[in-house]
């Protein structure tokens, strides 16, 4: 196992792919490899990219990847996808445009799919991002669809999160935008050549100004004592771009780097702590679920049958399951 970690750290592509798979499949022992890897990955920059379907996230990821590669930076990409049992795994969808990067030896792209009842999407995505950092990625771009709880958690545990919006995506956009608003360190209003882009940007600025008198650190209200000084807050910039042409993308990367510098300064310490705590809590929940659900499959089957027949209610069934694990 530690040999596998060493091979990943030496930049071995096959070992990296193998450890990604082991982590995703929760093969016993992968955690030992992760422990060996971890201390070497603390310098990597994890960048979350999220936003509504159709906002152009993949195109923007492709452009950011090109900019970083032009600087010679080694990059990892984690694409978080909904699963289809029909297709049997992650759907690459419009990520076909990423194909040219697959032949670049300094780019590693890995998809992570939503799992079944056991869940664990955020744990998988974080672990795989960590493996890519071990392989040598200085920047790991983690692309998610920004709607579900898991995806929000991933965005909230990244170092810096870019939220991509676009004008004209239907009447529910307003509601979704609010759901992902507090993840954002930088906003990109993509498709800025379309009508409605200025309105969308103004809308975001307005929403941000509404939040300005509350102390919100990236989706988590914190006590105003901890960080109510304006000097400690990061105000997310709202930047327009046309990702399909590459316009405005360099400015987005610059803004993300400014956020990183803020995060690593003294002023970013509350945010760093909140992030570390959330990531640890997620890992704990995931490990608990894996252990207890895995060890009690038969008991769960028996109790599910009893719930169906009306012999027990589901609340008492959980008590019974927890009793055996207390």
């Amino acid at each position: 196992v530690s040999e596998l970690a060493n091979r990943v750290l030496s930049g071995d592509l096959r070992a990296t792919a193998r450890l990604c798979r082991l982590a995703d499949d929760r093969v016993p022992g992968y955690r030992d490899a992760m422990k060996a890897l971890y201390p070497h990955t603390r310098g990597a920059w994890m960048v979350g990219i999220t936003g509504n379907p159709g906002a152009g996230k993949s195109t923007l990821v492709d452009r950011l990847l090109r900019l970083l590669r032009a600087e010679g930076v080694r990059v990892g990409v984690v694409a978080v996808d909904p699963t289809s049992p029909f297709s049997g795994g992650a759907i690459l969808g419009d990520r076909i445009r990423m194909q040219e990067h697959f032949s670049d030896p300094d780019v590693f792209i890995r998809s992570v799919a939503t799992r079944g009842a056991l869940g664990g999407l955020s744990r998988s995505a974080l672990d795989i991002a960590r493996v890519l950092a071990g392989w040598g990625a200085k920047v790991v771009l983690i692309e998610t669809v920004g709607v579900g709880q898991d995806e929000l958690e991933i965005a909230n545990t990244a170092d810096s999160t870019l939220v991509v919006v676009a004008p004209g995506l239907g009447d529910d956009v307003q509601a979704l935008k609010a759901g992902i608003l507090e993840c954002a360190d930088v906003f990109a209003v993509n498709k800025a050549d379309l009508a409605g882009a200025d309105a969308a940007a103004a809308d975001l600025e307005h929403m941000l100004s509404l939040g300005a008198d509350t102390t919100v650190v990236h989706g988590h209200r914190v006590s105003s004592v901890a960080s109510n000084s304006i000097g400690e807050r990061w105000i997310p910039p709202v930047l327009k771009c046309v990702a399909s042409r590459g316009d405005g993308v360099a400015e987005i990367l610059t803004a993300l780097r400014a956020h990183r510098a803020w995060l690593e300064s003294e002023r970013g310490s509350a945010r760093r702590f909140a992030r570390a705590k959330l990531a640890l809590t997620e890992r704990l929940k995931d490990a608990l679920a894996e252990r207890v659900v895995g060890e009690n499959e038969t008991a769960i089957d028996v109790l599910a049958a009893k719930v169906l027949s009306g012999a027990v209610d589901p609340y008492s069934a959980v008590d019974e399951l927890l009793g055996t694990n207390a």
Copy 2:
């Protein structure tokens, strides 16, 4: 507490609202009320309604609600919303069109918002649906945005799930459609008066035919021994509608009722079991997270600080936390 349950069972609106709140806030003791309530709720029909943003779910829910009310059926509605710390809770968004139902004494509408780090969205939604069943709702409509893991879990634990799609929602729709495909018991192609509706319906039929030789029970592959007979499978019908005018909505309700009849027949037993098992597993995971995360907040704080300083890696930190709870 059992007095509260009794008041809910007698149809008391204020008691119902109170138990919804207790369940959502995880106030200690709410589970005892749920246990008292549960045996009286087994006849309620839980209907999940999910689909992409902009597909017109709320309009369709409104129309289904009107049809059911015209029959004199008491109905509960659970609207699962993304949370915004800025707005401080659930966003009603375009659910304003539901407003007329708020004055109907036989309709109870409750929103459930995505939570913070503790998660538990699916548990909250299921509990609140159960409370509404206790209040006397014969049908509970549970509306979610069909993208995240939690939302998929809610859809997968409903008795019958309607997946709403609409033509022309941008290039990511294809991918999302696949993610929610396996939840569906009935498909509604809404906005059928728009160009592309026939193509969307044909697309769905094609996807369903691709899955036809695999035995898929609502998002969970099951062994082909258990239910590979065509007689035991439910083939989701694909129905067109224009929810804004009410066209085709009665046919959708009829199809959902046909699904319910199938589910309650011998042929639906594998599906009933899968649903009960998934719901129980979700409750178990949630109860575990609540107990262990709640009891270890200080230890998590200390370890998160150690992870930040590099004194420990997060994998070993989880081991340490689980060790104290083994």
